[in-house]
Symmetry: D2
Subunit: 245 residues, 4 copies
């Protein structure tokens, strides 16, 4: 299916501020960007580079006062996401090198503290895909999706205790729970077609069988129509907007 | 200045053929891509990746028969290119690591065979930028630019003996001559605004002082209005179109 | 000076366990490894790779029962570490790309929560090196170094509240405090000649002026005689021993 | 088997000369370096880095006069090399990204000029491993291995016309012939146990089936006991010693 996504950022800054943005989705296995557009309300000098996760990042200094960024992308993307019940757990010794880093705890995903919690959720499930599916079902049933309730990112453990969260929070919780049982997981930020509040969305991918699969704990059904913009270990690596450090 | 470049590729293939393309210019130090577009005459599945030189490459299998690719880019780019007469030669031991590879001989740039030739051309010139400038002047005066005369790439040594060449040939010769006196050089393929025959163009960059500078031995004057699409050690790494291997 | 370091790891594992080790220091700007040795008590198959921070990592499956690893390195290293009082703060927009990631919060360095704390510590200090020095002095005066008191890593915020810590804890705190005022910092794990309890040691580096400088908040004086084995954003990326996930 | 290899380099330089060396073999799939040693006859400052092919490179400035380098490595390596008759050709569209670059022509491997030659050699062979084997047999029967006859590297095409060559020449020819029929090949420099003249040796690897396999056109039989030091597209990327540029 063809999806058109647009994004308007309006900044009001007291002083000129360095920003690192991730504006450009990249074509990849499941999406082909056939048209893109970027406009700034004032001319600024932009430097682009790839970070260690392969994301295209844009560095610029936003001027003081009002500054608007407008982006649009038209993308050919899958109608539906692959589901692979039964896809097997990969032993740590057999994981590809590039995947190993996604087993580690990160700022918002304290997988080292959630092992006891996750082992209960996946009791009886086949190792691998089905464990991740169990975790997502548990989140959907126990941690209501409450859009718009969070200003600063909470960590997975804080979300678990709080009992509700935005899409980013639910993704963080899913990521941390999977890592705590040695399933590599990474965060995805992007657009999802048909989302009620058209906004940036966050979900995650888990590595089982022999590839990454998409999971979205904040949605009832795993829908297609996704545009991935950035990947990372958690939201600390996937910022579409960075305040002055 | 704002430059709009379009490219039409029409392929007529007897059999389905794997291609590796470099269609997407990337925003960088001297250019900001604010609008891009890609269209294929038939839907194909495209995988995108970055090669070891940082270029965005697109892998696809073009179907048998007619297959058309249309690309367009609108880019904010410099009106003029930096000139730095006197910028100094960098001793090999002081070059940044990522630059070292651009001293090596490559398929079309046999710098190991051109040392005697280049040393004559640069006699009396200050080490560094001025040597590269001398080499470009020598090429302009001695190797006439003859667009459209070459089907398959010649090597720098072959171009030197033949005595004329297309833009790619002249770039290869400049690259090889500079490397033979230990100045790192890399090839650039892209668009140049105002080129008589609007077509893909090739030039090169040399590392002197503390950065890469643009040189274009096939143009009388070093003009701005450039869109860089791909960088490499020579044309063997910078193919905008690869025939079936 | 020449330093010889040895390391004995004795594992007693109930089941065969995949490990990712960082056994090999790499020669670099301040150290040349002129002799190295690795022995396992039983033959195992080892795969080596470089992680995204450039560390050499070794993957293996340790057998059940007793398993011993012995390593030795003889290294030419600096007698003293560079000190650069007055080295200036680098604005975020001017940092090299590879350094930007070291500004982000990580599992054990919640720099996003420590801005108020650090701003007090550095009051009056010149921006840059002197701020880092102020932070280290504050840690030395307020967070006593208590070797051997920690089993599992604490986060910087937890260390701050607890009021004492091992070398790793003090490094985490220093890293988080610096990042909270936009100074890039990275963790180092290695050996320090003359350490009372000869053991693995942890310290950190900060990027000011135009390079990384060494800081060691758990030592009275900044001594030389260091062998760096691994670098990372925090201890979650610098594990010399990973338990079964 | 355990192999001990030593290397003595004696340089006599008129002026201080920057060198880029590849002294350190890395542990990997088929070898574990359990002891290494490096000595210089005079203290020099050495910087180590990884090149784009993953090789550990050492940068130093060798002093004028006599300068000696001594290296030793003790390595656990395979007794025999895997042979996989029948391993299938991988279509270009199915090759892993990192392998694609090894299809391109390089300074000493003009695969773009050898297609007609190689297609004859492999007539009747199954696509893949068996084609590479046919090429190696052809080289052994037609291009006698003549150690010590070459000062500067010849290209594959020159070796083909000359009709004999050193191990490096035969490897270059094998590499170029394979690439001309779309089989990825890479050069390996290292040690081979039992070589009559104990010296650095060169051979190549081809990607068929789903991995790299070892081929050695200058040896009657494919023997084990190998220590790989460096990989590259051809000898221009695999220099264990670089003269002043």
């Amino acid at each position: 299916m063809r999806v058109r996504a647009t994004c308007n950022l309006e900044l009001h800054l007291r002083i000129a501020t360095p920003l690192i943005l991730m504006l450009r989705p990249q074509s990849g296995a499941s999406q082909w960007i056939f048209r893109e557009e970027y406009t700034f309300s004032e001319p600024v000098s932009v430097l682009e580079y790839s970070d260690i996760f392969g994301n295209l990042c844009q560095r610029l200094v936003a001027p003081a006062g009002e500054f608007k960024i407008y982006t649009a992308a038209e993308v050919e993307t899958s109608d539906s996401m692959d589901v692979a019940l039964g896809a097997t757990f990969v032993n740590v010794q057999d994981l590809p090198e590039q995947v190993l880093g996604y087993l580690l705890p990160t700022r918002y995903c304290e997988s080292d503290r959630l092992g006891d919690v996750s082992r209960k959720m996946v009791e009886g499930a086949n190792l691998g895909y089905d464990q991740v599916a169990s975790i997502c079902i548990w989140i959907r049933n126990n941690i209501p999706y409450s859009p718009g309730t969070s200003d600063t990112p909470l960590s997975a453990f804080e979300v678990y205790k709080q009992g509700h969260g935005v899409c980013r929070d639910l993704a963080h919780l899913g990521i941390a729970l999977c890592r705590s049982i040695s399933i590599p997981t990474r965060m995805v930020v992007g657009y999802l077609y048909g989302l009620e509040l058209m906004d940036l969305h966050a979900w995650f991918e888990a590595y089982v069988g022999d590839r990454w699969y998409t999971f979205d704990p904040s949605q009832e059904k795993l829908k297609g129509g996704r545009i991935s913009i950035a990947y990372g270990r958690d939201a600390a690596n996937v910022m579409s907007f960075t305040r002055p450090y």
